[in-house]
Symmetry: C2
DNA sequence: CTCAGAAAGTAGACGCTGTCAACTAGATGA
DNA sequence: TCATCTAGTTGACAGCGTCTACTTTCTGAG
């Protein structure tokens, strides 16, 4: 199995890179460390990725893929408003359950995004899920009083969700002395306001 | 002037560090580069900061101070709702005008926040401005129908603002093909919704 | 089957980095 | 005056990303 073994190191590199990030933080990700853990030479990774940034981009792309799957894994019922509410909760749940992945997606500054097309594609796909769900809503209700394009609603919702998710996992919460209960209240309030803003 | 000269290098280090970050990105900030630019030896910075992270924390603290000043520089009128609206715009304006500073404040992962008390204090002060403004609002209107503590409103508002600011300066906007006009519309919509949520 | 060539992996080197240790010159203060 | 503290210097060390050159292994056309 040549192709299988060929790809196996590439995949193993991405997985080990994530493990290293998990243990030491993204800024201490070292290709040599990854290679050492996999028992290969320090140059082996360069046969599969042109640079350290490209491995990092692959890790981020995998996070986006997991994120998209998490968002769309919820069963969709006939009520698109309920669907959207569930998707919002799923969004926040992902950020809470997988804070590292979330930070990697939205906090990682790759020098040039266009240099990592796979990562970009995964990110676009993840956003399309939210966008499409909003599209369903307005389609199912032709008299929906939203005048601006769906895109702007998507932006608003994504903004609110992302802002809350970021805040909840930053040090700010401990700085403000927020208990878990208060966090839950904040989530519930935000979701309610979001629904009110979108609902007819 | 011993004390003056003593402090001058410390201050110069922080300024030059910011310049380096500006040019090369925060992950390429190098103490040796900073020292080189200031014409001192590569060990001189260590007489003023214990490590690279501590210089970075000082840079971030300065960003928080500038941010707080920007937020509170707006003249406050007698209408606290109008004040809040202006402060929200000021928030977004800062993020747009000084994206690097904004990212440094909210995207920089320092290993241990408690190790940098000055930075933490600046961050808390910045948030207190928003919090106090909300406090004014509820105080001036005793019948204000907000049942939950001010803190939760502050969290909601900060979430929405931070989310939008982050989104606006990420690559997502170009990915979605957002024009500047559409960005402005998104800002206006968010501000309107925010006001509606808070207003009685 | 053979064998040229591509692909995967190894080894060594270079310049860069953060940081530790040891040293020097100058200011401070009892 | 002289011991001490402070700011700054030089030198060293290990680790890093990445370039070049080498070997091994696999592949696919003749």
């Amino acid at each position: 199995m040549p192709t299988k073994k060929k790809q196996s190191l590439k995949q193993a590199l991405v997985e080990q890179a994530f493990s290293v990030i998990e243990e030491k933080g993204v800024e201490h990700l070292s290709l040599r460390e990854v290679a050492r853990r996999l028992g290969v030479s320090h140059q082996a990774p360069y046969k599969h990725f042109p640079s350290r940034d490209h491995i990092l981009a692959a890790v981020v792309a995998r996070c986006f893929a997991e994120f998209a799957q998490h968002l769309s894994s919820r069963p969709s019922c006939n009520d698109p408003f309920d669907d959207l509410h569930k998707m919002g909760l799923a969004y926040l749940e992902f950020a809470q359950k997988f804070p590292l992945q979330y930070r990697l997606m939205f906090n990682t500054a790759l020098p040039d995004g266009t240099a990592h097309p796979e990562m970009l594609a995964q990110a676009q796909f993840a956003f399309s899920i939210l966008h499409d769900k909003l599209g369903e809503m307005t389609l199912k209700d032709p008299d929906h009083p939203i005048r601006d394009p769906v895109k702007h609603d998507a932006i608003y919702i994504w903004s609110a969700l992302h802002g809350l998710a970021s805040l909840m996992q930053s040090d700010v919460t401990s700085t403000l002395g927020l208990s878990n209960d208060e966090k839950a209240v904040a989530v519930e309030r935000l979701m309610r306001r979001m629904s009110l803003s979108i609902a007819p």
